[in-house]
Every structure is written in C-alpha cells, then in structure tokens.
Subunit: 349 residues, 2 copies
Amino acid sequence: MNRRTQPKGVRLADVARSVGVSSSEVSRVLNGRMRDGKSVAQETRDRILAAARELNYMPHRAAQNLAVGRTDVVALMLLLDDRRELYPHYHEIIGALTYTLNGYGIHLLLAQYGPDPLESLEHMARSRTCDGMIITDMKVDDERPALLDRIGTPFVVRGSSPRAGVVAVGMDNAQVGYRAMSYLFSLGHRAIAFYNIGRDYMSGQRRFEGFCQARDEYGLQATAEYYDSHHQEEGMYQAVRGRFSQPNPPTAIFAEDELGAFGALRALSDIGLRCPEDVSVMTCLNARFMRLVNPHLTVLNVRQDEVAAEAGHLLARLLRGEDVEKRQLYLQPHLEERGSARPPRKHSL
Amino acid sequence: MNRRTQPKGVRLADVARSVGVSSSEVSRVLNGRMRDGKSVAQETRDRILAAARELNYMPHRAAQNLAVGRTDVVALMLLLDDRRELYPHYHEIIGALTYTLNGYGIHLLLAQYGPDPLESLEHMARSRTCDGMIITDMKVDDERPALLDRIGTPFVVRGSSPRAGVVAVGMDNAQVGYRAMSYLFSLGHRAIAFYNIGRDYMSGQRRFEGFCQARDEYGLQATAEYYDSHHQEEGMYQAVRGRFSQPNPPTAIFAEDELGAFGALRALSDIGLRCPEDVSVMTCLNARFMRLVNPHLTVLNVRQDEVAAEAGHLLARLLRGEDVEKRQLYLQPHLEERGSARPPRKHSL
DNA sequence: CTGTTAGCGCGTTCAG
DNA sequence: CTGAACGCGCTAACAG
C-alpha cells in the first residue's frame, strides 16, 4: 500500500528475479510474443503476470523505443502568428488528431517551427523523435514533402499537396472558390469582392482557380474583384474600408476565413452598412463556436476536424506498414446558409 | 550532395571512426561537456565538428533519452467533450505552452484521458514518457496531484489547486465571482442570475465563494440567484429559457463561459428580449476571436495564455532542478467593458 | 587530453 | 518452453 516507489523504478529484470525466470521470458509474456507454436507455459505465464502487477511494473518508454526503433509518436509542427497564438483552424486539427491517433496508441507531439522551418522539420525527423509527421499549411513551392521523402519519414499532408505521389487529405479549395462565387451569383450578386488566402499557399492557389472558373463561367470578368489577402482581422478591416471608399463598391464579400469575415463585418459596421441588408458576407470555416455567434455567418463549411481525423488514420496505417495509396483526398465543402448573404438590393439609395 | 541516406542513420560511432577517435570524444564535443579544466584539443574538436556536419550526424533521441534519463517532453492530457472536441480554453493553453516550452528545448505531448483518468496519468508518468506534466481542470477532490507526487513526477497545476504544497498557476476565480457581482451591482442590478461552472471543479468552487461574498456584502440574498451549470451552449439555453418563464426574471446574467454566454444570448433572443437593452449578460473568457464577434461581450478576461505560459516556465524550471517555491499563483481577472451589460431599465413594461 | 569500459532498460536471436 | 548473450545508440566514470 504505502510502499515507497523504488528509486529507479521497477525493471523487467526485477519482475524476472521475483518470479525466478529470465527477463526474456517476462518480455515475451508481457508483449504477447507467443503466437505460432511459440508458447510460454501457462503457469509461468500466470506467475509472471501476477508478479508484474504486484510490482506495478511499467516498461520504460525510452528503452522500448531504442530497442524497437519506434516511438509511437507523431509530430505536428505549428506555425504561430505574430502574437504567438495558434491560428484558429489548429484548434480542431489538434483535437481531432489527438483523438484519432490515441486510438492507435499514438501520442501527438507539438513543436513550433524555428526560424528555418525546413531545418526544424529535418531535426525532428532525423533525430527520430517521432515515427511520422503531419504537415499542414502547404505552400505552392513547399519543400517539406520532398525533404521528408528523402529522409524516409512517413508523413501525411493535411491540406492540398503541391505535388502527387504523397498522401494528402484536405478540403477541395477549388470548390470553395467556385461554390462561393456560384452561390453569390445565384443570389443575384454581380459585384463580388473575393478576398482570398495568399496564393503562395496551396489552398489559396486552389481557391483562386475556382474563383476564376466561376468568374469566367458567369461572365463576371468586369465586376468580380479578386484580392490576395491573408492578413487576418485587422487586414481585412482595412481592406474593406479601403474598397468601400472607392466607386462601385461590391454587393457581396467573400472573406478568406472567420477572422477575415469579422474584420469585414466590423468595417461595414463602421462605414454604416449593414449585413446582410446592404452587403452580403460569406466565408468558409468550421470552428464550432463560430456557428454560435451573431451574426450567423453563411459559410462553406470546411470540416477541418474530419480532414485531420482522416489524415490521422492514414498516417497511422502508414506507420503500421500497411500500404496506403499515395493519393490526394479532398473533401467537399458544405454550404451552410445562416443569413449573412442575401440577394442584393435592387436599387441603391 | 546527392548521397543517399544511410540505411540505419549515421551514428556517433560513424563520426568517431571517420575522425579516428573514440565515440566518447565525439559525444563530449557535441555536447559541450568540457568545462572546468576538462577540455578537448582544439584541433580534434574542429575535426569532429567538421565530420559531424559532413556526415550530417543527428543524435538518436531514444538512445539519448535512455542514456540521460530524460525526454525533454512535457505531457498535457486532454479532456475532450462529448463531441470529441477540445474545450475552447485549450486553444490558448496549447499555443502558449508549446511556445513557452520550446524556449527550453522541450516538446509538448498531447494525449487524452482514457476511461480511468488516474490510470492514464499514472501510465504516462511511470513509463517516463515525459519528464513532467501540466494538469488542468482541477476538481475539488482531485487526486492527480497526490498521485504524481507519489510517483515523483514533476508537475504544475494550471488552475486552482485543491491543496497547498504544489505549484499552481491560475486565475483568481474567487475574484471572478466577486467582481462579476460587484460590477453588475454597481450598474444597478439586483436581480442577478449567476450561472457557474460546476462546484465540483475548483474554479467553480472558488467562483461560488466570490459570488457568496459579494451577495452577502451587497445584501442580495433575496434577489441574486445561483446555479451550478456547466452544460455548455445548449444547457445554458435551456436554463435561461426556463428561468425566464418563471416570475421575477433577473435583469442580469453571468454565464460561466463563452459557450454559456452564447446559449444565454440565443435564449434571450428567442424569448424576444434584447441584450443589453432588456437583460445584461456578462461572462469570463479569453479566446481571441470571441473578442471580435457580435455582440461584443462585457467580460472578465481570464488570460489563459498568460496562465499557461507561466505554468510552462515554472515546470521548465522545476525540470531543470531549480527549486521552485511550492506555492499557488493566481492572476487577477481584468474587466473589459464592451457593452453587453448596462444599467437595468427603471421600469419593466 | 583521450580511450576503455560499463551501463541505461528492453527486445530478440539462438542455442538448449 | 526457457535462458544466455547481444544489440539498440549514447553518456558517464574511470583510467591513463
């Protein structure tokens, strides 16, 4: 009961000694390495298990890792913003990954990129701190997949992959761009301002393609405006204020993400315009609380939690040695109408 | 350049052989273990460093861990809600912890509690998967501190500690309760409904104490109402709807957290009451986006990121062997007025 | 200043 | 069915 913990912890050898067998025998029993004919006498088996429980034996992770050459750890490297805060979408990614990986007995390790991201990544991978990695926020010229391939570390891309031959799971951002435009068009909007993530990001690039396709298809070349933004709440605020001080303001705004949408709303509010009466606003996001707040934003739901969960499953299978098809899986965004986008007014004041 | 990665990775011995020294020598140089008089000849030193760089040597984590008896990992075990999602406050905790710990060369490991939380915790600690832990969401009868003490694993409590003799850093929740009441009282409210976190949680218990103190001090025994809630958005929605179908509804509501506040707002809206014209609402939270949304909530800002950062610093110092005072640090909440709470109307309709 | 030796704790041959 | 011996890769103690 009140027995003091052993100074160094109880080892395999301690259990072995207490039973009067070799430590190999204990290892075999505890790891269930006795299939085929290879078996351990039922009696020694029981005695070993009893002793292990009695001594409260717990294998030493580092020792196991070293012996087996595996860590059961998957790393996710984080990009913190200028305030050292996590970007919103990480919330769901981290939750879903932790949950999913734990189902495979894998822990999630978090680290942040240093000044040289590739170096951070290489360090993490080559030191074998983890068995595999999830990489996110892909740039169009992202060198991480190639690096990890070279090192031989299994990984899954969360998001759009800059190239084939890797396992990637993300949202279909081309559809995000296309459907946002289609929807606003169908409501009757023609003057649409599309504020996008930077096109240096894969998702931004994809969205841009979707935007272009819709724009051309609907003949909006003259009225639909495209902006590369990626400057969060304040950036969008400034951008929208600036745009509305110009002639021919848009009747609808697509914002890159939730923060951008709030920036846009704040700008409209300060200008004296209402949403959706005067200007429609939509965006794409998933964060749960966002659905609870006012105004209820009409969004293309990009289910980051589902994406992350799927990425976790795929990586786990990869680590198990199962052969996973090296292909890209893109989930479709789901339109959720909540009233922040409506048909434009027929006549301006 | 295009050299292929060695099958098993390059080891210390490889570097040693390439230079013609023993691996201890390499280890010494690479780890800078040469203070005091103990030095390594400048020349061999240089040759070793050159060879290591040339061979692109990277120490094997598991081997180092085993040899040194340290992992440079701190674990945070998560509580997922019924939807397997992370509670809102984790977002800032995780970001701040990752950032802070990385400054000490420590990674953050995430795992979720199994059905038996104490067992999960013990497993994590005794297997020496991590060097230390951060524990959060303390219950009043929380057994985790005692368990970790017994095991001998360093830890820091994020939140209110159920007992002295541990290192804890959290918000002063008694003040949260007290100041929320004071503020609403000072605005002129007398009929206040205080929806609290469950009192089985330390923070709930503390808030309750603050609530009681203010209630008694201001003579609100007859009009201030207390509810243990802790049922998130939907729960608060139901609770508020229920309360307003009764006589003598409150003129002000304190909600346990952001989700609760949104539930309250939704309920009021459905009932046909406006905030803050008809009913004042305030809560306490920190999440950044929450500050951006409408309505702008008047809150007691509980800076979870600062709390977590401080907890990270303390744990890191603990792990370095510095002797940290085993005491509790509670930051003060900061009132931020954003208009969701106002003086009550003089006369009801 | 440097090499040798001996672990760290566990898994895994390979005989027996 | 079981034990002895070795290896995982690195660090630390101790000679020299």
